[in-house]
C-alpha cells in the first residue's frame, strides 16, 4: 500500500498511468459522488460541466443546462451578483462560502453557500470557474428557528433563564435583566443562588433534585432578590433541558413577576376585612348605643336620688365619666358620623378654621405656630360632621406630633384634575415624623404610634370617610433629624359619589 501510493505520487508524469491510477477518473468519481452541486462555467457565464448533485438539487438534466447561461440559476434581482463574481474571478480571486439564493428548475428558491474558484490553463490564465453550491436550506431553517426563538425569549416580559445541573446560569434574557437588574454579562456563569434570598437557599437543592429526576416544576410561587436587594414575588416554572440522548443537562426557568398581583390580592383581602368590619360596626352600633343611652339616663336619675356630695353620688359621677369614654369610642368606631346630617355646601376652609378654633388652646400651650393658605374659592358639598371628624383627627395628630413647638401649615386649593375637579387640603407638621416601617400601617384600624394615648382609629376613620366621599387621603413622613415631619394630603372631588348602601339590621 505504502509503496504503491508513493510510486504513484512520485511519478505523476511518467507516461499515462493505468485507468485505475489516473487521477482524472478519481476526480470525476469524487465530483459525481459529491452531495453538493459542482458546476463549472466559462468566463462568459456559460455552464460547462454539471454533476449528479447539481442535477438532483437544481432539477436540470446535464443536456438541458450545459451550454446555457448560469443566470438561469440566479434569481433576476440577483443577476448583478454574477458580474461581481466574474470580475473577481478574472482577477484570480477565490470566493469562499458566499451565502445567496439560487433558483431550481421548478422555480423554487433556496439558500446556498457557494464557493467559487478560478480554473486556469497551463499558462496560469483564468479560463473558467468551478462552483460548489451547498444547499443550506436545513441549516437556514434551523438558524431561523433559533433566531426566532431568541427574539421571542428576549421580547418576553418574563425572566427566562437557563442553568446547568450545578445551578450555574447559562442564558439570561432581557426580561431577566429587567426583573432582576443584572445584565446577561453579569449573570452568565454565576450561580443562580445569587437570585435566591438566603433563607430560601434550600429551595434550590430541592429544585435541582427534582430536575435530575426529570420532573418539571409548575407555577411555584416564591420570592427572589433583585440586584438592589429588593424582594420580588415570582411565579416560577422550571423544566428540564435534555440533550439528544434524552439526558437532563440543565433547566430552563421562567419567572413571572407577581408582585402586583400579590399586592392586589392583599388589598382585596384587606378591603374585604374592612367592609366586614363596617357591616359589623353598623350592626353593633344599635346594640351598644341604645343600652348606653339607657345607662346614661339611669345613672343620671340615680344621681338625683343621692344627696349632693354623698359617696353614692360620687360613685355615680365617676360611672358617668367612664360611660362618656365608652360612648366616645363607640361613636368613633361605629361610624356614627357617617350619617349625621345631610351633605351641605360649604367652604372647606371655614370648616378647617372651626377645627383650629377648637384646638386653639392646645396649639398655644404647645407653642405651635399655624400657617394657613386658603385658595379654595369654590364651595364643596360634604357632610359637615364627617369632614369635621376627618380634619379634627388629622390636625389632632399633627398637634400630638409637636409637643414642644413646631409649625403647622395647612393649605387648601382648588385642583383641576382630568375629569375630577376638587379641593386639595395639605396638612403639614414639623413633628417627630413616622418611621418608614410604620407608615404603611397608619390607615389600619387600631394601629397607633402614640402608645397608650392613641386609640388607633383616627386615621382609619378619616380614610373611611374620605373614601366614602369618593376622595383620597395619603400620607408622607420623614423622621430625619432637622427636617422631620408628616404631610397628610386630602383630595375631595366636587362631584358626589352615590350614597353608599348600609345594611340595616332589623
Amino acid at each position: 500500500m505504502e509503496y504503491g501510493r508513493s510510486s504513484a505520487s512520485r511519478n505523476p508524469q511518467a507516461g499515462t498511468p493505468p485507468p485505475s491510477l489516473d487521477p482524472r477518473f478519481h476526480l470525476a468519481a469524487i465530483i459525481d459522488s459529491s452531495d453538493d452541486p459542482i458546476i463549472s462555467k466559462d468566463l462568459k457565464g456559460i455552464i460547462i460541466t454539471w454533476n449528479a448533485a447539481a442535477e438532483r438539487v437544481f432539477g436540470y438534466q446535464p443536456e438541458e443546462i450545459i451550454g446555457q447561461s448560469i443566470l438561469r440559476l440566479i434569481p433576476p434581482e440577483l443577476h448583478h451578483e454574477e458580474d461581481e463574481i466574474l470580475r473577481k474571478l478574472q482577477e484570480g480571486q477565490r470566493i469562499d462560502h458566499y451565502e445567496t439564493i439560487r433558483v431550481k428548475k421548478s422555480g423554487e428558491r433556496f439558500p446556498v453557500s457557494v464557493t467559487i474558484s478560478p480554473v486556469r490553463d497551463d499558462t496560469g490564465r483564468v479560463i473558467a470557474a468551478s462552483k460548489i453550491a451547498r444547499d443550506i436550506s436545513d441549516r437556514t431553517k434551523t438558524d431561523e428557528t433559533r433566531y426566532r426563538l431568541a427574539a421571542i425569549v428576549d421580547s418576553a416580559d418574563d425572566a427566562i433563564i437557563s442553568k446547568d445541573l450545578n445551578g450555574v446560569i447559562r442564558t439570561w434574557n432581557e426580561g431577566a435583566h429587567r426583573m432582576f437588574g443584572y445584565s446577561a454579562e453579569e449573570m452568565i456563569g454565576q450561580p443562580v443562588l445569587r437570585l435566591i434570598p438566603r433563607e430560601l437557599h434550600y429551595e434550590e437543592d430541592e429544585i435541582l433534585q427534582r430536575l435530575r429526576s426529570g420532573n418539571r416544576i409548575d407555577h411555584y410561587e416564591t420570592t427572589r432578590r433583585r440586584k438592589n436587594g429588593d424582594k420580588v414575588e415570582v411565579s416560577v416554572t422550571i423544566s428540564p433541558i435534555r440533550d439528544q440522548s434524552g439526558r437532563v443537562i440543565g433547566a430552563s426557568k421562567i419567572a413571572r413577576d407577581i408582585s402586583d398581583r400579590k399586592r392586589i390580592e392583599r388589598l382585596l383581602v384587606q378591603s374585604e376585612k374592612l367592609a366586614a368590619t363596617g357591616r359589623m360596626a353598623a350592626a353593633i352600633a344599635h346594640e351598644i348605643n341604645n343600652p348606653l343611652e339607657s345607662l346614661m339616663n339611669l345613672i343620671f336619675l340615680a344621681r338625683q336620688n343621692c344627696p349632693d356630695g354623698s359617696k353614692g353620688n360620687r360613685y355615680l359621677l365617676t360611672a358617668e365619666e367612664e360611660l362618656e369614654r365608652v360612648s366616645h369610642i363607640a361613636r368613633q368606631t361605629l361610624g356614627y358620623y357617617r350619617d349625621t346630617g345631610s351633605p351641605a355646601e360649604i367652604h372647606l376652609h371655614d370648616l378647617i378654621q372651626n377645627v383650629l378654633t377648637v384646638y386653639n388652646s392646645k396649639l398655644i400651650s404647645a407653642g405651635i405656630s399655624v400657617d394657613t393658605r386658603f385658595d379654595d374659592l369654590q364651595k364643596i358639598t360634604v357632610s359637615k360632621g364627617e369632614m369635621l371628624q376627618v380634619f379634627s383627627n388629622v390636625i389632632a395628630n399633627a398637634i400630638d406630633a409637636m409637643p414642644h413647638d413646631g409649625r403647622l401649615a395647612i393649605s387648601a386649593r382648588k385642583l383641576m384634575n382630568a375629569g375630577s375637579d376638587g379641593i386639595q387640603v395639605v396638612v403639614r407638621d414639623s413633628g417627630t415624623g413616622i418611621s418608614q416601617e410604620n407608615l404603611p400601617k397608619v390607615f389600619e384600624p387600631f394601629f397607633t404610634t402614640k402608645g397608650d394615648l392613641g386609640t388607633g382609629i383616627g386615621l382609619w376613620v378619616a380614610k373611611q370617610l374620605i373614601d366614602t366621599r369618593g376622595g383620597q387621603i395619603s400620607i408622607s413622613s420623614t423622621t430625619e433629624q432637622g427636617k422631620s415631619g408628616t404631610t397628610v394630603t386630602i383630595f375631595i372631588p366636587f362631584a358626589l359619589s352615590g350614597p353608599r348602601e348600609h345594611a340595616i339590621p332589623a
Partner: protein
Amino acid sequence: MLNTVSGPAFSPDESVRNLIEFRSAGSDPVGPQPGRRKVLVVDDQRLIADTLSEILEGAGFHVKAAYDGWSALDAAGRFHPDYVLSDVLMPRMNGVELAIAVRKMFPAAKILLFSGQAGISNALLEGQKQGFEFELIPKPIHPLKLIERLKEQ
C-alpha cells in the same frame, strides 16, 4: 306611666340642676298646664323612652312617651306636642315617617330625631326626597345636653 307625674310647674329655662327634684307620683293632671312645654318621647326601647320621660319631666317639661311610630302619631293627635323627640329605626313606622306626619299635623312642632346607629341614611334620604329635613343627634347623649338641645329649639 311616667308622663302622669304631677307637680308644680317648672320652667324649662331654669337651671337644670335646681329643677331635678323628685316627687311622689300624684294624680293625672287635667290637660297641659300653662307654661309647661309638651314633649312627645318616642322609642321602641321602652327603657329609653321611660327614663327620658322621667328626666324631662324633672326638667320641667310635660312629657308623653310612646313606644312605636303609630302609637306616637295617635298620641300626638291628642297631646299637641311642642316637641317630638323620636328614635329613627322602629317597627311599623320609622322616626322619619312619624316626623313627616307630625310636621303635616303640627307645622309649629319642633322635631328632633336621635339614633344609636349608622346606616339610617336611607330613611333620612327618603324624607329629603319628600322635601323634609330633620335634625339628627347621636345616641347616647347626656341628659343635660339633650335638655339644652330641646331648649334651643
